[in-house]
Amino acid sequence: MKSLVSRHLLLAGLTLSLALLVGVAWINWAHSYHWQDTVRRVSHAEQVRAELDRLFIQIQDLETGSRGFVMTGDPGFLAPFDAVVDKIEGQFRTVRALTADNPREQADCDLLAPLLARKIAIAQGNVNLRKSAGADVAREAVGGGSGRAVMDEIRAVITRMRGEEAALLAQRSEAAEKEARKARALTATGTGLGFALLAAVFVLLLRENQLRRRSQAALRAGAARLEAVVRSNQLIMEHSLDVICTIDEQGRFVFLSAACERFWGYTPEELAGRPCIDLVCPEDHAKTNRAAADIMAGKPVRDFENRYHRKDGSLIPVVWSAVWSAEDRIMFCVAHDVTERKRAEAEIGRLNAELRQRAAQLQSLFESLPGLYLVLTPDLVITAVSDAYLKATMTTRAGIIGRGLFEVFPDNPDDPAADGTSNLRASLDRVRRHRAPDTMAIQKYDVRRPDGTFEERFWSPVNSPVVGADGQLEYIIHRVEDVTDFVRQKSAVPADDRTLQARMQQMEAEIYQRAQEIQSVMGRLRAANDELESFSYSVSHDLRAPLRHIEGFAGMLSAHAAATLDDKGRRYLTVIADSARRMGVLIDDLLAFARIGRAELSRSPIRLDELVRDVRQSLAGEINGRRIEWDLQALPVVQGDPNLLRQVFANLIGNSVKYTGRQPEARISVSPAVDPEAPDAIAVAVRDNGAGFDMKYAHKLFGVFQRLHSASEFEGTGVGLANVRRIIERHGGRTWAEGELGKGAAFYFSLPRESASAPADPSLS
């Protein structure tokens, strides 16, 4: 675009500069003629003056000749005189002719002509007089002076004419000078402008050239791109799964991409030039022609579908997108093979039909169920109902589907005690909240007859949730049983069935009595529990005081009487103090045991393996640097009281440490186990290769103060395992043990998997 503008500009510049130069030339050309004219005029003026001078000289010669002859009478003067007379005539004609263009000079000529004639006549007369009358008469005539007067007039006219010519010459020279100046100025300006324009054109040309070079580079790049596009187009044409083709105005294939062979079994060459309608299934001709007309009318077509005959005669469904190019008078088309889609659509259609059929079957099955069922959405809109339900409630399916449950089944407004809807609402709320079935007590729920009155009915409803895969409540199934007859029978007890009624009353009385008994036992238990608590408090405080005193005073005595006591005396004192101390320990353990029974369980998630590691570290004092091979395996997380469970492991692992004390290579393991009586429970085993025990005493292991080893063999009070059992039982689990004397022991406990379901402990110790 830019280059075009500069081309116009260039042309204009060039034209203008050429015009200027031509103008300048023309001016010079014209001026040269003018100049020539001027020169001619100047020379003409010069000539006029020369001719006038010549004329004057001839006149003077005339005068001189006539005078000479008159004075001298010498005929030698007559010959030139005669010659001059002839010449003057001619000379005057020359002057008249030369000044023909000047009226003033012509007027002077007119004046001059008679003057010349008179002069000649006078001179001729004088000559003739001399000849005839002699020298004196002639001399007198000459001196008469008429000749001189004519001569003066002639001189005056000629002088004026010379002046006229001189003035004309000056005037012409000046004009010629002016012309020349103008011509120079014009020439200089025109030439200058012409060169300036030429320079501008040159600069423009340079720029144009530069632009052209640039655009040529761009053109080359464009060409490369075009080539790439063409190449990719070729690739597309070769590899496109769809047929890409062009069709001319007559509906003939022009070009086709390679896919047409796969589509129709014809190669592109076979089809090129063939009318495409030939391949279209005849039933689709009409709509194909309509579509073609639409396309050629400028309406692009998308997803137009028709069927084509393949070379082998089979049909192939094709979907077209096409657009008409008015410029090329050609239709650009893309054809897509929809055989697979058709097949899938057919399959989907078939499946849908099957699904509809199944759904209808299921619905009819559901509706024919003998039970009374209602299916509700979570916001209690009725979506399905069994025929039995409709019959029992005297409603129609069309009348209740899609409506709210309580809108359809309101309470009997005439029954002030009616609480059916509120009870049902509460039950449905529970189902929605807990996602669990809710069985309702028998409800009196009157049915509205079509005439608007109510009929007394009793129902036993169950509401069950239907929960989707995502855990969301999808439906609620409301199932009822009409128990009206049963309730009526029950309330209408026949007279001869009195015994039954009496029996029932008796049973009710018994139940009441039992409840009273349970109440009183509970009261006694509570009192016993309180008593026990104050007892253990007393034990802890009062029973230990004398023990401390025994030990304290024994100690003071041994300090006081150390010098006077012999060994035996000192030993007695030691035994006294040790016994008191041991009793103190027993009391402490017993109190701790009692406390376990009373303490509130605080439950939290506990990582058992961490607990085990903690306990092992806290036993460092007991381990006392011994070599023990530990095998502590990963244990699950349980819900429980962390302090109490810690005590369990402290006792079990502490025991293992203690009873392996005589093993050179002690092994202790804590690992997951299985409770054979409760395979679901979480079980843990603590095993060691220590002193072990005889299985026939296994039942005694977990009893209070029960010991299978003597205190001298292994220290202990016999409360530890009792504590373990009590703690585990309080968690709802159980304990057991396996062992063999001298081979080691295994202690197990198990906790219910859902620790939350552990039975509440009735605070009994």
Binding site: Y537, S540, H541, L547, R548, H549, E551, G552, M556, G584
Partner: protein, 151 residues
């Protein structure tokens, strides 16, 4: 000789009292101890009334208080002390044989300064009492108005 008694031992059991005094004596602290047998007597002493009407003025620098006592038990004494503007600053150490959690909780709730369970073992008992005596009379800076132990 007017020795200032700066530890108040409230202990109903004479054997315990004697053992405590022996333990304190082994550290030369027994001279500065005044022993009373129950809570009522303890308050009489603290308020300088009844048989203590003539005592020198000033509060003990620490009270060793038994829990279970006739008439008025340790917790009642503690409650009375902590409710009294002039006595509530006196440090009180529970010296008791009770390990019961409720006793511990209630004592601390009433503002006790320390709670020590009397060890059954005599040697340990002597050691505990010694440490209590030394800490409260030597290391601890008592509140203003306490009777300084004669040096």
């Amino acid at each position: 000789m007017n020795t200032l008694k700066s530890i108040l031992l409230v202990e109903d059991n004479p054997h315990d009292a004697e053992m405590t005094l022996v333990a304190l004596a082994s550290n030369n602290l027994s001279n500065s101890v005044i022993h009373v047998g129950d809570g009522e007597e303890a308050l009489d002493y603290l308020y300088a009334r009844g048989k203590f009407g003539q005592r020198a003025p000033g509060n003990p620098i620490v009270i060793l208080l038994d829990l279970k006592m006739p008439k008025m038990d340790g917790l009642e004494v503690l409650r009375a002390l902590k409710a009294d503007a002039t006595l509530k600053t006196v440090p009180v150490v529970m010296l008791t044989s009770s390990r019961e959690e409720q006793d511990l909780v209630r004592s601390y709730a009433l503002g006790v300064n320390a709670y020590v369970v009397k060890p059954v073992n005599f040697q340990q008992f002597v050691e505990s009492v010694k440490q209590i005596g030394v800490f409260w009379t030597m290391h601890n800076e008592p509140p203003p108005g306490s009777i300084r132990r004669s040096s």
